[in-house]
Subunit: 518 residues, 2 copies
């Protein structure tokens, strides 16, 4: 790899004396452009694998490509790496192979089949079966990889219902494993793997370590470096990228492949308005400022296919405290719409499809509490009878009363024939005073991020709408459509597990493609 | 325009001696390819405006381009024109400007503001306000255009609740105008404009006439001619298309513009699986066999942006007979989920988001009937009491009983505080025997078609993800994202009105672009 860049060639595009289209010839945002390989007379830099983005996916891709013996250049638009993974708790949703080392050490077993079945149940018609299979088979090894980086995982199981264990323990339930209908189809196993003693800061723990390993492995990491275009030949093969560093534009050759790990598009208002307008209307955008969708658009410009673009993760974390799971969610018709022991993103999904988005929690004095994470709930009705609450909240006469009566009648027998909340959370709500707490979406503004992205093979190869791989082009993380494809089946840890697992695969594939064809 | 094609040049791509990439170099479906203008040494045919697709949108575009003085070539992949518009009743959803000529002749007035407000209410966050405005302002004139073609519209108003008037009358309510919440926001006006005496065959009536006018206007119409690629230069400007006729590939130059009117993608299984997997899982694909999405993919390959790709029209036409509107729809928890006087696509939308898709209609003997259009409903419970019905159908104990009790209590006072069904359809369901009729989605397999497509300006110009027009490229009909963008707000007649209205605008824009820049 040419480690030193000839500064006389850093003066930007025009200094090349090429007939390359000025990026803004069409008035296009330059990041969407494809530069014709045939018109590139020389490169500023040449490497085997060019990784765009130094978040969870990009760092994993870079490390594995280096380990496979490839020269690697990593580009990061921000002043330092980390991406949205760094901002997360860095929980990883892993299992299978009889159990990860952590699951087994804590006495849990988890067959690959059980893990596969669970993921397929989660994503149903949206699931990419080939991808789910590769993930279910490889996830346990992926835990060893993460631990092998030097990330510590504490052999402690947190049994509570919380978004992230704050006890320092590393294993917990983070999805719908124990909730209907999943509990009936698969054996519930905890699969949330959290860096030790990190709580919400697991992203810092994991990414700091991972980025250090990438550096040690000898990748050439360049921050404040924005990928603005792909270099593609007339046959469709991708040969590299154009990078803007300061005022300069550099042409970087990637002999084996380019891996796009540039995040999702939740921060791109023009895109969210056209792909998730309904979610955009009430959500808080959750991600890093560069989740602008440029990786997705660049991949599409190269012939890729952006899929599931209307899907988004939507969070309604009414727990902890877990006592709130005893409450019931109702819409503005007083009807329940979900089993309240479901994971926060499943609740978010069903809340988002209620007409008008006006949702509430009804709860009695025995279980009332303020949710820890939803800070802007408001009590819209109280009373010693359900009738009083219903009236104060302005719900239709009799609607809440009939819902609560039916719920209590069954709960007294430990059953919930409508939504099948687990018996552990069932008890009649009959201890006055009662409260109705508003979780109206435009008031609580739940966090959301996008799940749609480039269609890829499990190896990370970006494919066209008719499933042909574009030679030399890979994607991972939320630039690609990954394992989680609808909020309905999401679990904490799926994004980071998916980004790092398939980031690694993409990095390896890119590194090996060069070899196979050399 | 070169009317005669030199046959020696019809031998296909290779006969050109060009370095143009063979369409399948990448293993790509050739329809996704972009051919570099710079490498085209000569064209087989030259015209001003090239229209791909001879359905409602394409025929309208062709006619208006001819009327604006442009030479026009129209390509149709099938052996004759008509497209999906031909298969429809050809109702057009029109209003505004104080009323169309038909509305006014029948005593209805409809302000542009009222029409605009209604459409904006229908599509909410999904609405493209600029497009809605242009449509609301121009729709009344569009009726005159249609009538001016020679299509007869009978001065008769059909007051019933039916999908298509079978009385021969030409005006009827076809959407949610009289249903909540629309009835509270806008003055209800009938806007379904149906060719006279045509019933379900209005598409034949209108398209036969329209296609004849296109022919008379002197457009060069070529059937069995498949558009396989766009010819685009390095600056992004589109110069024409590559067309496959038999074994030959012809290069057609379009001096002013190419208009893509190639339908939606409901017949493309690879695309529906990735964009509307949930809908695909239960629907009947509704469209013509060439609704394969190739126009959308071609536009994206040229730099366009496919938007709202996850949205689809879903039809649950439980009426007529209209007496069924007195019944109540419930999900498998016995809960209502929609006002039953809503339009069939709104009912389809809310049915599709019920967990499990198991929906039913509860009805009493006074209102029972078999729906005319949903042929495969099944009675899953009957009885002289609601309890008996509930048990026979296997619904949760008490769930249907409590729903019916609450409904009847309010209906006795002419109100429906939960879903606001209009008083005209409200009466207690208390005449035994009762029935529960299954409308389970995977059993009734409702018709669906796609609503997503290329992002365009109201003029039809295809735009990039950052809203820059691609010079020379236009789209209309379901190749573009149009007025209707979610099933929730759809009304019969919106697709044909949108396709023909915006097809005309695209044809005019393309014809005039040449002039402006000449």
């Amino acid at each position: 790899m040419d480690e030193s860049i000839d500064d006389s060639h850093r003066r930007g595009l025009l200094s090349h004396g090429l007939s390359v289209i000025p990026a803004n010839a069409l008035g296009l945002d330059p990041m969407n452009r494809i530069y014709p390989f045939e018109e590139v007379s020389r490169f500023d830099l040449s490497t085997d694998v060019l990784v765009a983005g130094f978040g969870g996916a990009g760092a994993s891709a870079a490390l594995e490509a280096r380990r496979a013996g490839a020269e690697v250049v990593v580009l990061e638009r921000a002043s330092d790496g980390g991406g949205s993974t760094m901002m997360s708790a860095c929980e990883m949703y892993l299992g299978g192979s009889g159990g990860t080392r952590l699951q087994r050490d804590l006495g849990f077993s988890d067959s690959t089949r059980n893990f596969f079945d669970y993921l397929m149940a989660c994503f149903g018609h949206h699931a990419d079966e080939a991808r789910v299979r590769v993930f279910a088979e490889g996830a346990a090894e992926h835990f060893d990889w993460a631990e092998g980086l030097g990330v510590k995982y504490k052999r402690g199981f947190f049994p509570g219902r919380d978004v992230v264990a704050l006890t320092g323990d590393s294993l917990q339930y983070t999805g719908n494993e124990k909730a209907y209908p999943f509990s009936e189809r698969c054996t519930p196993v905890p699969r949330g793997h959290l860096p030790a003693d990190s709580g919400h800061k697991g992203g810092v723990t994991l990414m700091t370590t991972l980025m250090k390993r990438v550096e040690e492995a000898g990748a050439d990491i360049r921050c404040d470096a924005r990928m603005v275009g792909l270099i593609q030949d007339a046959d469709g093969r991708v040969h590299g990228g154009v990078v803007r560093i300061g005022e300069d534009e550099l042409f970087i050759e990637a002999l084996r492949g380019v891996v796009l790990c540039m995040g999702g598009f939740i921060m791109n208002e023009a895109m969210t308005r056209r792909h998730i307008p309904h979610v955009e209307s009430f959500c808080t955008r959750h991600g890093n400022p560069y989740d602008l969708g440029d990786g997705i658009l660049m991949g599409v410009a190269a012939g890729g296919h952006a899929i599931h673009m209307g899907e988004a993760f939507i969070s309604i974390a009414h727990y902890p405290p877990e006592s709130l799971t005893f409450g019931i969610f109702v819409n503005d018709k007083g009807q329940r719409f979900v089993n309240e022991d479901a994971y926060l993103a499943r609740i978010g999904h069903y809340a988002s499809v209620q007409p008008g988005g006006r949702i509430f929690m009804f709860i009695d004095d025995a279980h009332f509490a303020r949710p820890r994470y939803v800070l802007n709930t408001e009590i819209v009705g109280t009373g010693d009878t359900v009738t009083e609450v219903e009236r104060e909240a302005g719900l239709p006469d009799g609607a809440l009363q009939s819902t609560v009566a039916l719920y209590n009648e069954h709960a007294a027998h430990g059953s919930d024939p409508l939504f099948h909340k687990a018996p552990q959370w069932l008890t009649p709500l009959d201890q006055p005073p009662y409260a109705l707490v508003s979780y109206e979406l435009d008031k609580i503004v739940p966090a959301a991020f996008t799940l749609g992205g480039l269609d890829t093979l499990p190896t990370g190869e970006v494919v066209t709408p008719d499933q042909k791989a574009i030679p030399g082009l890979y994607a991972a993380g939320r630039t690609a459509a990954g394992i989680p494809r609808t909020s309905k089946g999401y679990a904490s840890g799926m994004s980071v597990a998916d980004a790092t697992f398939f980031g690694r695969l993409a990095g390896k594939s890119a590194a090996n493609r060069g070899r196979e064809t050399a």
